[in-house]
């Protein structure tokens, strides 16, 4: 019995280096950085004053009429803009798919409340000393606007998108820290494979470029403080890396069952060949030193794809640029590939886009699809000084032509979350070969 295959027939993304995959890709190949001085709030007296912001953004860019959009967090705007791009790209107006057989699965992260209103509510409520929930609530109910607040639930983007594209099947949002959108895409693919739906809009979006985000990540000692040289701040796998830079954005895809896509003559951008999820079960703050969760997620994704490690031509790393992540990810890749690890090119999209937290896996999927399409891998920029503990081929600074059939894309998140996708160039025969091997 051959299992149903899941292909991608549409993609859309909003990133610090462009508002579409077509704008993003040449910038990545040139090795441009999306990091710049932070402008979304006045960070002039913050210890971190840089970020990878989506430039020239306005809610009008989503291309729909909707007053709610002005109230919605940026990530909702990114998710909807990317989702509508993907639907258009797939040529999938609603009459080409049965609405009940179309679902949505996003990995949009927790939104941050308005900082000014939040601190004002505390000042107002805490006159007596402590700030009990009840007192805070009484103040906050006066200071916040309930109409705006309803847009601050993590399920709002998925539900809005379902309404906009008339998806009447399952609609979900998951949060698994920085592995969120990878898991959303993987679980969406599973729903298609099992025959519960024919197509899914899947991906994610996030923005933590916010006083709360900078406060939280800086207190976790996760951020680069290379404020004077923004473009050089994210240096994955380089010996002088000092943390990640907060990014933002979103990417959404149309995942579709292969025969369904064929029947309507859709262009096939690639295949979700495998997906795996695993838990480190170590600590909420950092990965197990041997990268065991990452290794498990990768092995599960390879088994799901019926591929061996040596079939992987390229790794789009999680590659955040923190001391610990890059070291442990390197260990996990060495465990995965064994002695051949040094021969597999690895690059970090975050070296240019910063870390878009729950959105990163989705944006990196867009990168993987363009990699298999164009037979070229983008570089890891800012790579200057090798780190003896990170001694693999990180495609330093310059793009490389490479015929890529299968890409491995791991995502690693706080809490011990690990997920991995195997993305393959669409090939009529390759999967049947894998399936035959399995039989």
């Amino acid at each position: 019995m051959l299992r149903r295959r899941v292909v991608i027939t549409g993609m859309g993304c909003i990133t610090p280096l462009g508002h579409s995959p077509g704008e993003l890709w040449p910038a990545l190949l040139e090795g441009r950085s999306g990091v710049a001085p932070l402008t979304l709030f006045d960070a002039s007296r913050f210890p971190v004053r840089i970020a990878a912001e989506v430039k020239d953004w306005s809610p009008r860019n989503v291309g729909i009429d909707g007053r709610f959009l002005d109230n919605a967090p940026r990530q909702t705007q990114f998710a909807l803009a990317a989702g509508l791009q993907a639907i258009r790209h797939a040529g999938l107006p609603s009459n080409r798919v049965s609405p009940r057989r179309l679902g949505v699965y996003l990995g949009v992260g927790e939104p941050f409340e308005d900082f000014t209103r939040f601190t004002a509510s505390i000042s107002d409520a805490a006159r007596g000393g402590a700030c009990a929930d009840d007192a805070f609530l009484s103040s906050a109910l006066r200071i916040f606007d309930p109409e705006t607040e309803r847009e601050y639930e993590p399920h709002r983007p998925a539900t809005h998108l379902a309404g906009l594209v008339n998806a009447q099947g399952p609609v979900l949002n998951c949060i698994a820290a920085c592995a969120s959108s990878t898991q959303a895409i993987g679980e969406a693919a599973r729903l298609i494979r099992r025959g519960e739906v024919d197509a899914m809009l899947a991906g994610g979006a996030h923005s933590t470029i916010h006083p709360f985000g900078v406060t939280g990540f800086h207190r976790l000692s996760a951020l680069s403080t290379r404020n004077d040289d923004p473009r050089a701040a994210v240096r994955p796998f380089d010996a002088d890396r000092d943390g990640f830079v907060i990014g933002e954005g979103g990417a959404v895809f149309v995942l579709e069952e292969l025969e369904h896509a064929r029947r309507r003559g859709a262009e096939i951008l690639g295949e979700i060949a495998g997906y795996g999820s695993a838990q480190d079960a170590f600590r909420v703050t950092d990965s197990a030193p041997d990268g065991r969760g990452t290794v498990l997620a990768i092995r599960r994704a390879l088994a799901d794809a019926a591929l061996n490690a040596e079939d992987i031509d390229y790794v789009n790393a999680h590659g955040t640029g923190t001391l610990l992540n890059d070291r442990i990810e390197t260990i996990a890749l060495k465990t995965t590939f064994g002695p051949a690890a040094g021969r597999v090119p690895i690059s970090s999209t975050k070296s240019m886009l910063g870390h878009s937290t729950t959105a990163c896996g989705a944006i990196e999927l867009a990168v993987c699809l363009m990699t298999v399409r164009d037979a070229v891998v983008h570089p890891t920029i800012n790579y200057a000084t090798p780190d003896p503990q990170c001694d693999l081929d990180y495609v330093p600074n310059v793009a490389r032509e490479l015929d890529v059939r299968h890409v491995l894309s791991p995502s690693i998140g706080f809490g011990g979350q690990n997920a991995a996708l195997v993305v393959s160039r669409f090939d009529e025969s390759s999967r049947s070969a894998a399936a035959q091997r399995a039989a």
Binding site: D42, S123, D133, D134, A278, Q279, A281, T285, G416, Q417
Partner: protein
């Protein structure tokens, strides 16, 4: 046969059963206490007033006030797990504490970890947005507040930010319940958290079933935790749903399907379940609560945001019945969403009518929100727990405050005086104000 091919054949027929259950609710912190309160018809709703005696922002609520976060609230624990939980108590937000307590109860009852390592045990949980604790920011805000009592943002980066606990951000992540449960118990299987409001629990249970059916995990700890009590959760919910505004008699405030229902009651709660492959459960002699026969979800919302919960719930129920191979007339009982608002209850009853036709007036219906209020994501799970317990005990519990039938709700809530059998199957229903509906069908194991 090749191991892969035989694995495919094996997994094609894998069935999923419930072998452990844990619950933390305003009406009980253990399975036993919870069931007692349900059948005795005790309400967990209490009136509230502000510290200075003035009317509180929430006039009444169902709080799990016996749950203080003390280590004794977590049920029987292995010494190493107890030590780990105790060490992390201060790092966990209340939603997470409730979830961990429910999860540990479920794991302890099931005993699954005694026979299988954690590598193939996953966690798939439902959760709400985690409301920030205003108290966590009090020191920081003070540090930036001048003589005039005004907060000065210019000082936040230099003076306020450093006052925040280093691990503060991690407290606010909705995936922490699933992560802590994995960490405390060494569960290295797939791990995910669904944040889809009131339908999260059913969606998480459905995803947990897929993991087991597809052979990706041998057992999954599932369930949900949630609240509409914490400041931001309630503020978000107020934009979407009708909540009770005045409350002279708290115990009668939550009255699903009653003609005089006047809004939802804010609440908190969590429940967890161990789901397991049937054969593995039978082999180790586990006690089985029931089989998850099927699950389904549907959405009905248009481009302008107008939702049609009646349509999506009817569709979700039909699909679920079909997948489970159940006829409407063979369903033992319904566990309704039963929010206690005019619109949602009428939508829900309408959907039940659409699917069950005349049977709608025969199939007994329960709604534990009448006892324990609306805990958003958490309610779907505690309601599931209530119906699983009912299946085991063979009888149902009443819908409190159901006094005057509403012609707009042609269903059959179990009344206080009646003793009604639970039947050998039930549907757990949930819906959101955004047109999302979900349904899980459970069958008693003995009936197979």
């Amino acid at each position: 046969m090749d191991p892969m091919a035989s694995a495919i054949l094996r997994t094609a027929s894998r069935r999923v059963v419930v072998t452990g259950l844990g619950v933390v609710s305003p009406i009980g912190l253990t399975r036993g206490a919870y069931w007692q309160a349900l059948v005795e018809g005790r309400s967990g709703v209490r009136g509230r007033s502000a510290a200075d005696g003035s009317p509180a922002a929430i006039p009444c609520a169902a709080e799990a006030s016996e749950f203080t976060g003390d280590i004794e609230n977590f049920g029987p624990l292995e010494p190493a797990v107890k030590k780990a939980i105790r060490k992390a108590l201060k790092l966990m937000n209340r939603d997470t504490l409730l979830a961990v307590a429910a999860g540990q109860q479920a794991l302890a009852e099931s005993g699954v970890l005694a026979v299988t390592g954690g590598e193939r045990v996953g966690v798939c949980f439902g959760a709400d947005n985690i409301s920030m604790n205003p108290d966590d920011f009090l020191g920081g805000v003070r540090a930036c507040t001048g003589e005039d009592g005004r907060f000065d943002f210019d000082r936040w980066g230099t003076e306020g930010l450093g006052e925040i606990e280093p691990l503060w951000l991690l407290k606010c992540l909705p995936n922490m319940p699933a992560c802590y449960l994995a960490i405390f118990n060494g569960l290295m299987g797939p791990n995910n958290t669904i944040t889809e409001g009131a339908v999260s629990a059913n969606l998480a249970i459905a995803e947990a079933c897929r993991l087991i059916e597809d052979g990706l995990a041998d057992a999954v700890l599932t369930g949900a935790t949630g609240t509409t009590l914490r400041p931001f959760n309630l503020m978000h919910a107020l934009g979407d749903e009708e909540f009770i505004r005045d409350c002279r008699d708290p115990q009668t405030a939550s009255r699903p399907f009653d003609l005089h229902r006047r809004g939802a009651v804010p609440a908190e709660g969590a429940a967890a379940f161990v789901l397991e492959d049937l054969h593995a459960a039978l082999e180790r002699g586990a006690t089985i609560y029931g089989e998850i026969a099927a699950a389904s979800a549907a959405c009905a919302i248009d481009a302008s945001g107008r939702a049609d919960g009646r349509r999506s719930l009817a569709r979700s129920m039909r699909e679920c019945l079909e997948r489970a191979g159940l006829e409407p007339r063979s369903v033992g009982h319904l566990h309704a969403h039963g929010l206690s608002t005019q619109r949602m209850d009428a939508d829900e009853a309408g959907a039940i009518r659409d699917v069950f036709a005349a049977e709608a007036e025969r199939v007994p219906l329960v709604a534990a929100k009448s006892h324990q209020g609306h805990a958003s994501a958490g309610s779907g799970a505690t309601e599931m727990a209530a119906s699983l317990l009912a299946l085991r005990k063979g009888r149902l519990f009443p819908v409190l405050n159901y006094e005057q039938p509403d012609r707009a709700c042609p269903v059959r809530p179990v009344t206080v005086a009646a003793t009604v059998p639970a039947g050998d199957s039930f549907l757990n229903l949930n819906l959101t104000p955004h047109g999302q509906a979900s349904c899980v069908a459970v069958r008693a194991w003995e009936s197979n």
